[in-house]
């Protein structure tokens, strides 16, 4: 009896060792980082469903109607801004412009900057901003907002916030995230657009997404 338990425990130990070895091998073979789907999933009919960016349609700086459909459900990178914002927007826009320049040869990425200031940011003003900031990329769209209510709802889908705030510089409070959305309208990564190092990491995530097969 005693001998049996001893041999059992030895077998268990060697099994554990094997397991450990396998798991080490496994982690090394899975060096490639994969992007998770962000957001809180719901379970429906025993299927895990992740939130998606809802369909929308806005005018861009050239009065074109831009929707996820018109963009062919390609990868897009999104941020929120307004042209008279004196605080974080210039930094975020600088990052967006840097990313767009880096992937200038990739036609399957769109850059969407949603304006939160429907009162001041008319289409001609967005056009002027586009020209004078020097964005110069046909996949770069500055989108005219409808009203703050609509912007608030949209921002929530992008895990961002936006609100009117007379105390805030420029009158609008909002977050400075830059977000990565895949072909299935799932959020896959985000970065603080005011933080250069974080944006560098985000650029790595875009490359990972571009290499995904589906």
């Amino acid at each position: 009896m005693n001998i049996l338990t001893l041999s059992n425990s030895i077998r268990l130990k060697s099994n554990l060792k094997l397991l450990l070895l396998l798991s080490i091998l496994f982690t090394f073979s899975c060096k490639k980082k994969e992007l998770q789907i962000l957001g809180v999933p719901t379970i429906q009919d025993s299927q895990t469903i992740y939130p998606v960016i809802p369909e929308f349609e806005y005018f861009n700086q050239d009065s074109q109607r831009i929707s996820l459909q018109s963009l062919g459900y390609n990868i897009h990178i999104a941020s929120f801004f307004f042209t008279s914002c004196p605080t974080i927007c210039p930094k975020v826009m600088r990052s967006m412009s840097r990313i767009a320049d880096l992937f200038a040869d990739k036609n399957n990425i769109s850059y969407l900057c949603f304006s939160l200031d429907s009162k001041r940011d008319s289409i001609p003003r967005l056009k002027e901003y586009y020209d004078k900031v020097g964005l110069n990329n046909k996949n770069f769209h500055l989108l005219r907002g409808i009203d703050m209510n609509d912007s608030k709802k949209l921002a929530q889908h992008y895990l961002s916030t936006a609100s009117e705030d007379p105390e805030a510089a420029g009158g609008i409070n909002h977050s400075g995230w830059i977000l990565l959305v895949d072909k299935n309208r799932h959020l896959r990564s985000y970065a603080d657009g005011t933080n250069t190092e974080d944006v560098d990491r985000f650029i790595g995530d875009i490359k990972i997404l571009l290499n995904e097969k589906n």
């Binding site: 042209t83 974080i88 600088r94 412009s97 004078k132 900031v133």
Partner: protein, 136 residues
């Protein structure tokens, strides 16, 4: 002895340039209030957020720059300073102290312009003169 003086001068020069409290204060102010639009190294972004490296234009406006920082630049026609590109507002900083303003100006000047440095007395006079002119 000669060598000692040589090193002393170098140390003095380096310390004046990089570690004085006025330089640090100016740098701090720049990073908190200016760098978002004008960039970490004064590069700006297109014409919407003007670069601080256009020394020719800025040199010809050396004595107006302190007032721009205080009163801001507003593109509408009724404003005092309309700016060169007439595009976007530069926010006013009416509560900035004269000493802070001076440190900020000298930081920017040292980094990007190399004009004549701003003296506190001189900046103070510019502001008083401007305020007196506005009343008339």
């Amino acid at each position: 002895m000669k060598q000692f003086f040589f090193f002393a001068i170098i140390i003095l020069f380096v310390s004046c340039k990089f570690s004085t409290s006025t330089y640090k204060s100016g740098k701090n102010l720049y990073e908190n209030y200016c760098s978002s639009c004008h960039g970490k190294t004064g590069e700006g972004l297109g014409q919407w957020y003007p670069s601080l490296k256009d020394t020719q234009y800025l040199k010809s406006n050396r004595n107006l720059i302190p007032l721009w920082i205080i009163h801001g630049i507003q593109p509408d026609s009724s404003s005092i300073f309309k700016g060169r590109f007439n595009l976007v507002e530069m926010p006013a900083n009416k509560s900035i102290s004269e000493a802070d303003l001076c440190n900020l100006l000298n930081y920017i000047n040292e980094e990007y312009w190399q004009f004549k440095s701003y003296e506190l007395q001189e900046v103070s006079t510019m502001i008083k003169q401007f305020n007196a002119d506005q009343k008339h």
